[in-house]
Amino acid sequence: MASDKKSLAVAALENGTVIDHIPADQLFKCVKILDLEGLDKQLTIGNNLRSDKLGAKGIIKIADVTIPEPVINRIALVAPNAVINLIRNYEVVDKRPVKLPDMVVGIVRCANPKCITNNEPMKTRFDVIDAERREIRCHYCGVTVTGAKADII
């Protein structure tokens, strides 16, 4: 692997989680959504890797951590085609697409400056009104936004 200069020089994970097929321009939003900055485990973030599906893609590898599915699913807002791979003993034991939850809590900032959520110490809350188009509506003021344009907190 490491000797093949055309492939990514990253050691395979023994245990952990790999999130693949993230659109390149949304990768760092995913890092933010998953709050990986403070994580003390081995973390590999790759971006602008070649992908037949996406053209350029991002990938996140997290060693020794199993991030709960509801947490990972939050990234479906910006990376709807991302795939979660669970790794045990260097083997992929589970592989599944992310799925947008019915409600998005505490991740997205409401675009309406007169929304209560931008003026009160509280969590934002959006209802998913169209999962396919990733359209979400502020539970409080009713302003809608689509996934890729969402302002991540």
Partner: protein, 310 residues
């Protein structure tokens, strides 16, 4: 969270709307009964609104309840930086019902989440003002004898006018035909046209406030075209008088036509309309009192009609 709070017109089913209209009619016949004896109501007006506040406070007074509250937030701890949550929690210790007006959108929904006391939204920014919509429905119901199959013409500021948006949402149960009359800058936003399409609501859009439109309407709902809504002041000067209703324009209108306006009016209805029996905006405001009595009883789960019968 109290399930009997009223934040948005969307919270009300068709059956509930009809029940509230029926109860408003009851209060119109019996406005002074002490159904709220021993109750304390908090009217929290984080933004001044004289007409709405007087209407709600009159409703409470006529029902025999007592009122605490404020009409000017600069005299409260909000001006010291207290959060809305803390203000609501504090007031919840004292009152049986909160009626609140706030300048921020979504404030009422949030208030319902931090207290077990029922909350009635008396307007949250440009978002929702359900008691206004309910009194509009009551005015339509009262003057037309029904809510179904009416042709309703909305005139003026259809872009920012929250009352017209809520009215469209509320009328979805009643097979209306809407006519939207506005200049291009203030035309009905796409999301509400989409809403009409999705609900099978018939509508046409007009830039002309023409005789044809007026003469085929059962209700004309006028709104104020505000100067500050325009990015182009030349455009404002051009259109400001195009959407003014004069008495002569009503000559060939339907007998059952009534003119509504949420008030305050500036110049969009000429004063010569006031004496026309089809002018209904002052009665409409009066209807607000009975509807608010109805909504207050709903929030407190008081059934005045059966209590009255006993």
């Amino acid at each position: 969270m109290n399930p009997h709070s009223l934040v948005s017109i969307d919270d009300l089913s068709k059956d509930k709307i009809m029940q509230l209209l029926d109860r408003a009619k009851f209060f119109e016949e019996h406005p002074n009964h002490r159904f709220l004896a021993g109750k304390v109501v908090g009217t929290l007006f984080f933004e001044p609104s004289t007409r709405t506040r007087l209407s709600f406070e009159t409703a409470v007074n006529r029902l025999g309840g007592r009122i605490i509250g404020f009409s000017d937030p600069s005299a409260t701890s909000t001006s010291k930086g207290e959060s809305l949550k803390d203000t609501i929690k504090m007031v919840s210790n004292y009152v049986d019902l909160i009626i609140m007006r706030h300048y921020l959108e979504g404030a009422a929904r949030y208030a319902t989440e931090v207290t077990d006391v029922p909350v009635i939204n008396a307007g949250d920014g440009a978002n929702q003002h359900p008691s206004q919509t309910m009194l509009d429905l009551y005015s339509i119901y009262k003057t037309q004898g029904k809510l179904t199959d009416l042709t309703i013409t909305l005139v003026g500021d259809l872009k920012y006018g929250r009352t017209v948006h809520s009215l469209i949402m509320a009328m979805k149960y009643f097979n209306p035909t809407f006519r939207f009359v506005a200049c291009n800058e203030l035309r009905m936003p796409k999301e509400y046209l989409d809403f009409c399409d999705s609900q099978g609501i018939k509508y046409t859009e007009h830039t002309d406030f023409s005789a044809e439109v007026i003469d085929s309407s059962d209700i004309i709902y006028m709104t104020r075209v505000q100067r500050e809504r325009f990015t182009d002041l030349m455009e404002y000067e051009r259109v400001k008088d195009l959407y003014t209703l004069h008495n002569a324009m009503l000559d060939n209108s339907r007998d059952n036509l009534r003119i509504l306006h949420p008030l305050p009016r500036v110049n969009e209805i000429n004063v010569d309309v006031d004496d026309n029996p089809k002018a209904y905006y002052f009665e409409q405001a009066r209807n607000g009192l009975f509807m608010r009595q109805s909504l207050i009883c709903e929030a407190l789960q008081i059934d005045p009609q059966s209590d009255f019968a006993e």
